[in-house]
């Protein structure tokens, strides 16, 4: 059986334009649900990147009192360099701390004027031998007890907080994406049913003269596919825009370098876009295919 291209193009086009309001509504809901899905993928990718950066580099920071005596600093350094559980410890002295401080408050010179290097606390950046949280905790507690130490910050704490937040955020997003995807699938189903109803006389004749079910089905599936794809294109644009916004926010002077894994490369965003286009096409084509099959079997 030959499915002629002009027939296909004509029928698909006619169907697509038959009911513009319903078509627009369908495309918009598809775009919204796929945008949510895209945002979810974007953030998940960022969290993955974030976690992998810390996986092999679990770090904690030992803060000294600003007025700690040099011998206290020496004893902490001694403790760290001799400890078997510490792989590497770097001392950030007052000048280095001041330089970081200057970078951090570059746009607030009035803050810089108030601070002298002498007033700043020094610190050790510690990379433990093993990335085991309970061991790191035990080590941290030991160090905290040393004289002159004001406290220990664990990177793991920030990671956990961030992961908790992103887990919730992405749960909400995936829930919203699924709900709106269901809504768009139902709307798609309805749009196709409306199209089937509008063409019921033609379909009756087609079946009577021996057109195959696929011949009837394919233009409607193409219509659904097209609606899914157009929606996915809009979703792709919004994902690109979102990534642009994140990238711009992270490029600011005040931003934390910690989060820079949330700005995805164009390649990653393109991959997400590809997923969205595939999901849109499947959503549309399959929804329409089911609608036609149910109509033909009724």
């Amino acid at each position: 059986m030959v499915l002629r291209v002009d027939y296909l193009a004509r029928e698909t086009g006619n169907n697509f334009l038959r009911n513009p309001t319903l078509t627009v509504a369908t495309v918009v809901t598809v775009a919204v649900s796929l945008s949510l899905l895209g945002a979810f993928l974007l953030i998940r990718e960022g969290v993955d990147g974030f976690n992998s950066r810390f996986q092999d580099d679990v770090e904690f920071i030992v803060w000294m009192n600003a007025d700690a005596a040099p011998e206290n600093v020496d004893s902490v350094e001694n403790f760290l360099t001799t400890s078997l559980t510490v792989q590497r410890a770097t001392y950030i002295d007052k000048n280095a701390t001041f330089i970081e401080f200057q970078e951090y408050y570059a746009d607030q010179p009035e803050v810089l004027d108030l601070v002298e290097p002498e007033q700043l606390p020094t610190s050790f950046r510690v990379v433990p031998e093993i990335a085991d949280i309970s061991l790191i905790r035990a080590l941290g507690a030991e160090i905290e007890a040393l004289p002159g130490v004001s406290g220990v910050d664990y990177a793991e704490e920030y990671i956990k907080q961030l992961n908790d937040f992103t887990t919730w955020a992405s749960r909400i997003m995936i829930f919203a994406a699924v709900v709106s995807a269901l809504a768009s699938a139902m709307l798609m189903y309805n749009t196709i049913q409306t199209g089937l109803f509008a063409r019921r006389r033609e379909i009756e004749v087609m079946r009577l003269v021996g057109a195959t079910n696929w011949y009837v089905r394919i233009p409607f599936m193409m219509e659904g596919l097209l609606q899914g794809l157009v929606g996915a294109v809009f979703a792709t644009l919004s994902v690109f825009a979102l990534n642009q916004a994140i990238t711009r926010a992270l490029a600011g002077e005040n931003s934390l370098r910690l989060f820079e894994s949330f700005a995805l490369s164009t390649g990653s965003v393109l991959l997400i876009s590809l997923y969205l286009l595939i999901v849109g096409a499947i959503l549309g084509g399959l929804g329409a295919g089911i609608a036609v099959t149910r109509y033909l079997d009724a």
Partner: protein, 225 residues
Amino acid sequence: MIRLENVTKEYPGQTTALVNANADIGKGEFVFLVGPSGSGKSTFLRLLNKQEEPDTGRIFVAGKDIGQMSTWKVPMLRRNIGAIFQDFKLLPTKTVSENVAFALEVIGRPRSVIRTQVPAICELVGLGDKMHKYPGQLSGGEQQRVSIARAFVNRPLILLADEPTGNLDPQTSIGIMRLLDRINKTGTTVLMASHDRGIVDTMRRRVIELSHGEIVRDEARGVYE
């Protein structure tokens, strides 16, 4: 060409449409199905192109048991069975030639075939000069000719006609019957459901009479009653 073996068809909650029907119809025959409304004539026809499925019994078309036929072959069966109706079932937005061409187009016939076949069949049914008119611009008799052209353009083995003259005046009906007779003479088996006594009595063809779903008479060169 067509054989029914003990075919029964019931519609849930309604009267039985066909009870234990047996019939054997040979190639090239012209058969009238007669009987009052609701006697099972339309069901008889609808079973033959699988618009309906029998509850029990077997139906053979061109030697094949169509009850055993897989779903994807049904369109192929229908390409060999033309069908016309009391209400014509023409597409109002297409012209005469587009309506006829549609039947060829949707079964994937090449354009070159459509270009030659459509004018030829329109000529055959006597509408050569009205090919570009729309169904709404034609009389009832002319519309039925278009539907015959559409049913016959694929040269089917069998033509099913469900009350084709039901909406037409006697004079117009005679014209339609002449056309069906011509089609029958090309070797196409014609089955026509009718309660038009005048037509059945004039044609003197085989008559199968149905009453409450049962075949009560099967007579060669019969009359309506």
